[in-house]
Amino acid sequence: MRPPGPFREGFFRSPIRGPVLTGILGSILLVLTAIVALTGFLSHIAYMPDLPGNAIVPKDRDFPLTFDWPTSPSWLYALTQGLHTNVGLVVIPFVLAKLWSVFPRLFVWPPAKSPAQAIERLSIALLVSSTIFQLATGVANAQYWYPFKFNFVVAHYYGAIVFVAALAIHVIVKMPMVLRVYKDREWIKPIRQDLDEPTISRRGVIAFAGAGALTLLLGNVGQSIGGPLRKTALFAPRRDSGFPVNKTARQAGITPAMVGDDYQLVLRAGQRVTSLTREDLLALPQHTARLPIACVEGWSTTQEWTGVRLSDLRRRAGASEDATVLVQSLQEAGVLRRASLSADQLGADDAMLALKVNGEDLSLDHGYPARIIVPALPGVHNTKWVAQMDFNREART
């Protein structure tokens, strides 16, 4: 027997629901979610999880699909992560519209007529669940809200794999239907004649979702572009400072005593240990470059950095040109107090240990006495308050 309420035929009254609306929204979402998923996995690769200390998702439980993240163009990570977070917001109203368009299907009776239909409904449940999970956790994380107990990076990464797998199934199963929508305009007719008069057209619903997407985008994108547009990001967390601090010295446990006259940068290459004071570093050839620093949360800022090229430090340390380096902060605790850089990143022309920014000494919050700045590197890997650099290969003499 058919249960009452939404399971009853004729319970849902809108005449604009149907394959046309769902198919068009599905096509839009396929393009948008492809951008979000691709840039998300690119960010995972940009963290170079193969290098010591960089992996957040353990290597033995991950795919070996990585490559050397390039250092040019310098705005590469600002672009990919800006797309990830902003297109991620744009997706939300289209997801809401699409779920609305197929909502009556949730209450079909009987729930499954065949094993094929049963398994398809299961994979759709996974798709809806992982979609909302990814959007909700991503949005909360970018806004510094952690209403969950799991590790965000880990859950967001595996959630993305569930999403991509469930989406692939959905696309393979539904693609013929979507193609028919574009070919066969007969489908434009309402499915049932006995429904309510429409109060909005299909085009109107898509435009409504588009207006929602635009509103969210305008409320946030300024923090990704930076400069004078930053202030236009009315709802973005990073609109108040032209040069945002990801983590203050106070929060990182860095005290003025740790960076005082006793400060020394230690370079290690095999048995060879080199110590440099800040005066020593300032006496080395200085390099200046305008480089963006872009956070995984989607904000970025471009500043003029001055310091010692990392390739010069590598030579001074006595390390070979194919060495990678583990950079450690003075910070005593915290997951991202150290990060490894590849040989290419060390060799990049603009990669440096910055001592100054915009012609002045770094402030303590921006990493005084010295911080890493490498073009196109995920923001948090530009280690601040650098204490030690361990090169893993000695130069052959």
Binding site: A168, I172, F208, F235, P237, S241, N246
Partner: protein, 129 residues
């Protein structure tokens, strides 16, 4: 056939990812979030906005509803998506890590809401003339 093949290839990948993520800390919390995501949308958010929309349609016949539906929908969308910034949920963490105060988000949301309704009213009167 196509349906079974798609599931045969990709369902194991999704199941592997789920099993793996449940092997990390707070597995129960991940499961809760995955299930709650669907329940909150399908049985709270969608019925709520549907009921509000139906009430609006009763009060405003025909396509008149759109002059309220669109600004209200956009305003609520912004409120839900930027809930954390508007309600200051992330304030403690944000101030600790950035050294900055968290200010003005609620006011700006009210202003944006007012602007959306004003724009909608302007369109309504422009069309009626």
């Amino acid at each position: 056939m196509r349906l079974w093949l798609a599931h045969l290839i990709f369902l194991p990948l999704a199941v592997w990812a789920l099993i793996t993520v449940f092997d990390f800390r707070a597995a129960a919390n991940v499961a809760l979030w995955l299930v709650a995501a669907v329940i909150v949308h399908d049985f709270v958010i969608l019925p709520l906005y549907s009921a509000a929309d139906r009430a609006g349609r009763l009060a405003l016949p025909g396509t008149l509803i759109n002059y309220v539906r669109v600004p209200a929908g956009l305003s609520l969308l912004v409120l839900v998506v930027f809930w954390s910034t508007i309600r200051g949920k992330g304030e403690g963490t944000y101030t600790r890590v950035s050294g900055l105060a968290w200010d003005g988000y609620g006011t700006r949301w009210l202003l944006v809401t007012a602007a959306l309704f004003a724009l909608s009213a302007a369109v309504y009167f422009a069309r009626r003339r």
